[in-house]
Symmetry: C2
Subunit: 415 residues, 2 copies
């Protein structure tokens, strides 16, 4: 069964926002066994939306549309869908009551006519309740094809997908089983990996597809399998991963189902009752933010000192001025002192420290743009290294974060 995702909004086409909805919807559909044929982002324009709906109806069985359901003049999706289904708008009393209740609870200003119009829906649509907003989701059918329209606000759309769309799709169709298993490797390039595993890759069964996803010091290998029987699929993928482990086990740092490396780290720390803190200079809080983005992080993440200015390194992190003068602010010695002191200040078992120059100019340090020192303090001591992370600010920050997680995970797995 194939689906197409259509996201509507000029803001996507002019690059004012990144379309994150499609990735969420794609992942959610895969989870229940629906493959996404393609994703299309189109303009807030009636003719364009109609063309996209038409083409999608030719290509796939399930069409998922987001965006353009707001109360303002530039939102035209509802009227366009109404035209596509040759339908009229009627008032839905349950939606009206919901909109009025939301206004009462959260909004200080009185409800207006345009807000009440959110309760006007195509007469042929089944309403999908939007828990977090005023624009309802809509479910329409044409022959054996299903059309779903949802607002573009990410958290409203996400709740609609989880509570309404996915359960209804599973009730309506019988889907095959899709499994993606991603193997995380760090430290070696994709062409070297491809060379090491080429015989294995060539002998993969036809229903398993392999993809290489290289990025900034790591390569993810994704095995994607699809079939009728969940057990068969899971067993075969597991068997292939075991073989892969024999071939390149030395560079595999973990597996990603839903989990990224920082979630894996968090789970291990939590399981062992261990804790971590960070002392960040060039990464500026990026590492801390990755930890705290996950629910339950307070069990293992104690906090962080972002010592962006050199003063902050001496005054708050207690790194000695002499040490900085002697070795310069971007040095192994300073990174190690930051790590040790952060571990002590936050009373944790582990800490990560970063100091470097993310560019584009040299700043306080003598170091070349892209030079980064990372230190990890562990219950047993210290590991550290100096790296050249290239010459693009975002790249340097992200590569440093990835390298820190790689170094930390190796230490955690040792202990």
């Amino acid at each position: 069964m194939l689906a197409e995702i259509i996201t509507i909004g000029d803001e996507i086409l002019i690059g004012q926002i990144v379309d994150t909805n499609s990735a969420f919807i794609g992942k959610a559909l895969n989870r229940i066994g629906v493959s996404v044929y393609q994703i299309k982002s189109v303009q807030d324009d009636k003719a364009h939306i109609l063309k996209a709906l038409n083409e999608a109806e030719d290509n796939v069985d399930i069409i998922i549309v987001t965006g353009g359901l707001g109360p303002t003049k530039d939102d035209i999706t509802k009227h366009t869908i109404c035209e596509y289904f040759d339908d009229i708008l009627v008032q839905d009393d349950a939606v009206l009551a919901h909109v009025e209740a939301l206004f009462k609870k959260y909004i200080s200003t009185p409800i207006m006519e345009v807000n009440k119009e959110q309760a006007l829906v195509p007469s042929k649509a089944k309403i999908l309740k939007n828990r977090f907003g005023t624009a309802p989701g809509m479910w329409l059918e044409k022959g054996n094809k299903v059309f779903v329209s949802m607002p573009g606000v990410p958290y409203e759309m996400k709740a609609l997908m989880e509570y309404e769309v996915l359960p209804k799709l599973q009730k309506r169709y019988k889907f095959p089983f899709i499994l993606h298993k991603t193997v995380l490797t760090y430290g070696v390039g994709e062409s070297v990996i491809a060379d090491k595993i080429k015989d294995w890759e060539n002998n993969l069964p036809a229903f398993i597809k392999l993809a290489y996803l290289p990025s900034l010091g790591k390569v993810r290998l994704r095995l994607s399998a699809k079939g009728a029987d969940k057990n068969d699929i899971e067993e075969e993928v597991e068997r292939q991963v075991v073989t892969l482990q024999k071939l390149i086990g030395d560079i595999i740092v973990g597996y990603e189902d839903e989990n990224s490396i920082e979630v894996t780290i968090g789970e291990i720390l939590k399981g062992k009752g261990l804790t971590i803190a960070t002392a960040e200079s060039c990464t500026g809080g990026k590492i801390a933010e990755q930890f705290t983005a996950n629910a339950g992080a307070s069990a293992y993440f104690k906090g962080s000192i972002i010592s962006y200015a050199t003063d902050a390194k001496t005054d708050i992190l207690n790194v000695s001025e002499e040490l900085i003068k002697k070795h310069s602010v971007v040095s192994i010695e300073v990174a190690e002192a930051m790590a040790v002191n952060a571990k002590q200040l936050f009373k944790t078992n582990y800490s990560i420290a970063t100091t470097g120059n993310a560019g584009p100019s040299k700043g306080d340090s003598e170091a070349e743009v892209g030079t980064v020192c990372i230190a990890i303090a562990t219950p047993k001591g210290l590991v550290s290294g100096t790296f050249n992370m290239g010459n693009h600010r975002t790249k340097v920050i992200n590569k440093t974060m990835n390298k820190s997680f790689e170094m930390l995970l190796k230490e955690i797995l040792k202990n």
Copy 2:
């Protein structure tokens, strides 16, 4: 002149990665006067890519393709483009020399045959130099249509766009002028704004389009204009913005061209020689990370203490245990103490402090999920508030960040 962006890769369709390339390309094309007709993400599949190229050739004049140019088996874009243009692959000596040089400089492993194959390119293609990677960009023409193929690695693609694609497009065509001007408002919902400005909106000239972009406590109003004469366009948009300022000046906090609110804050602080630090609990480094993502942040951003654990609030931020016991960890009093102490520790003019419960469970605090206290310390004193940020973790964190920036900017503009 219209363009279509085609991003290739199963990882996009299964939601393993978010397609950020399209937004960058869309914004870049707009800057030189090219409108994006639509964005399409397709599978690593020859038939599908050929279909997408065909349809794009019907729809638009400029087709920009990213992805699928790596050295591994799953990358098929180059061969597919070769087939689309009925062409053969030939070795490009300059590309080969570049690949060999990159290996010598950055990669510890020896160069392999698959890497050398990166130098095989369609004979009809003009080569666009990829400064940061081994896969070259390619420029092909068919009648009066232009096709550009670039690797999907974001920083490689970005450099190719800036240094190769945009200059070549500007040389090849004469484009109109496109201007987007975005007005940032905080604190009032989109339907209330729409009501206040409806007469103005209805009287906008035909070449100016208005869009409402609401998100988590802020609404961005985007005016998009297109025309032959740069001066006319700029003047008319400016005139409309002045009128808008008269209608809703009380909720406008700034304008976004390239700039987001934290960049605006940074520029003002830098201009005045003022500094800031943050003390973050529930936002976990998110606010610090926004500041440090910008080059030159070290001029005004001194650092941050992420006091995620309650211990960190007392031991490192010096918030008294009694105060926390008396008012609880999520309280105005604790937020204010955090702000004052951070300002003192980092010796800055301003500070932002956040403490709250981002959920999903109650954690250390007694506070309901979504309850957040924010305090801003300024040269003249303190402002603070308690807010209900809803009940979704990411939403609570982002909404808190936005509210903090709003409160801070108001204070900065006062002083």
